[in-house]
Amino acid sequence: MASEALTAGKASPHGQRRLTQLPLWAGLTALAALVGLGLGSLGALLVQAPGVSPSSLWREPYLAGVLRFSLWQASLSTLVSLALAVPVAVALARRPRFVGRRLLLRAMELSLVVPSLIALFGLVAVHGRQGWAAPLWEALTGAPAGYLYGLSGIVLAHVFYNLPLAARLLLQELERAPAAHWRLAAQLGLQRQAIWRTLEWPALKRLLPRLAALIFTLCFTSFAIVMTLGGGPGSTTLEVALYQALKFDNDLALAALLALVQLTICLGLWALALSQGGAPSLVAGDDAMPLQGRWQRRDALGVSRFTDGCWLVALSLLLLPPLAAVVLAGLGGVTDLAAQSSLWPALGRSLVMAAGAGSLALMLGLALLAGRGWLAARGQRLTAGLMEGSGQLILVLPALVLGTGLFLLLRPRLGGGWQGYGLVVLVNGFMALPFVMQVLRGALLGLPVAQRRLADQLDIQGLARFRWLLWPRLRRPAALALAYAMTLSLGDFSVIALFGSPSAPTLPMLLYQQLGSYRWQTAAATALVLLATVAALFMCFAWLTRRLPRYPFACPPRPDFPQPPANDRPEP
């Protein structure tokens, strides 16, 4: 009862009295920047478009076809990803120990941020007409392996991306169940059906609507995959049509129309998903669940050993060969690296832009969450929710629209060259914001009640509160968020395709150029460099924050004081 009153936030009017209003202003600034630029860019597009006619959507067969195909491929991809992710997650939860489990989980977490061109490269190497799987396919069906192009290829690529992500998040939800539940299930000897009904399904049910919305949105707005594997007007999505309208036809009216349609569909979907309640995390945590609670499960015996094995092998066969193909092909092209004069400038360009976009996303995310916390502490729940929700805006607003709108807004003064790249950094930062906020959320949503009371009584306020109480909890998530954001920006190939200049490419652009001119060996080396950079980023940030900082005690100078026996330092 008492704790309830405390968490209500009204019971302790002194709690934050001396805190400044800095969090609020930071949050409001970020909110204004986000909403202003988001809606401003859409508005700019609408104003510049000389007459949008929604009726052309169903009158023009081309547009109707594009819309139908977008919806169809996204639905199919979502359905297949989720339907396969559930048994995979259940199998992974049931097998807490096997060789390579950690590696598999890491690969699954990274699937979200593997640059799409790299994934495509790997997929083509494995499933393409000359790919590793082609002889197998030919032996089985008697036809040449052409399944990577068109609808089946798009769905395969989307499943490659989203199934591991979905399974990882579902697994996290399963493992979050209290250890006591699993202890009880073990003691009662619950069987498969009972475990599914009492423990697994209730946990998964919470996550599924939002997960479905996320995957659908990602597939619906997918760009590089459809552009590469779509091949022709028969399989084009709204996002690709938008790009073509902007880049080749300069048809702003059509672009605005397509953007509005996309916005409407995605917003509606998210509204539907969010109304299903619950706000589970959509980003896998950085550290594995504590291994303390591993109880024997009755359903882990018998035939399930075989079926679980099948699911895990199938997952590995989907996920690992394309990545292996990138590495192998890249190693073959390593000798070319020295000769590639444009590679290192491109890498430098990409890293600088990624650093900019990552810091931008991190700052915006921190500001929004701080503002949200400030408002929530004062009972302004609606405003607080709005502030947090604004960070997700980019999930529904196509990045291309944002970029183009901003371009139109700033056009009189915006020349080419570095200003275009600055715009890309800005949009990339916005694109990374939803993921950054998901990672930061847990750490920044306030101290636990017990710690807050303690801090109040000891008068730890302002800067000291941040330095000693918040920062230690924040540094790991912040590093992870920065790594996510930088990776997303490193691999981006949608906005840069619009604004980048071919003579000064980023790494993904360079890769695309090399693929386009069929320089297979060189492209493989470039892909490997990109992949290695992503992996190095994650490892670097994880290493920097690998454990809690030690706070060494500076002994006061006095002669009689014996040096304290060091626990972790061996005597010299």
Binding site: L6, S12, R18, Q461, L463, A464, W468, Y551, P564
Partner: protein, 240 residues
Amino acid sequence: MLCADHLSFHYTRCDPGETPDFAFTFHLAPGECLAVSGPSGAGKSTLLNLLAGFLTPSAGRLCWVGEAVGERFGEGQGESLPKGLNEEIGENLVEQPPWARGMTTVFQDHNLFEHLPVWINVGLGLAPDLKLSDAQRESILDGLAEVGLGGLHDRLPGELSGGQQQRVALLRSLLRETRVLLLDEPFSGLDRDNREALWGLVRRQQAAGVAVLLVSHDPEDVDALAQHRLQLLDGRLVTA
């Protein structure tokens, strides 16, 4: 002398068997230890949270009064403050935030910041911004040695036993030199040796003139420390 006069609180929601309305009246002299007992749900924690400023009372006063006023109370607990004494009565502590009340609470658990080593946990009690002078650093080391934790200043709370953690918390309250120590079942679940060591720490504070309010289920703790006892019945403090 700390005086609470009809310090009231009202819960909008409560479970069956719990009291929704509270009005606390008592006084507590420096160096004294007052024990409050009562069944669970009677409002013992509510009382301590009201005193510490974690909950805001709906009415009533909480203040320091001088010796002269205090003498009029004698031994009788549960009496209201005499009327017409406003000029002699200090400021109402209810208006003060938790950090300005000169009180330290020690709970049953979660008294330490889990991510910070022992010396910072103690040091934050001495200087909220942790800008410690050499003298303060020395006092931390000395204090830790005195409570039997010498050399453990670099440990994280999770690496200490429950009794050791409580010793750190009590040491911090000792070094803070506040006027009132609020004990919310701080000895629960500890063995005899640990409890005796902790009692010693509380007695040291009493000897230094700190007023102690003890909430405990265990009659042994009460016998060991308390000079006065009150009971919580129907949201009121009555003589046990």
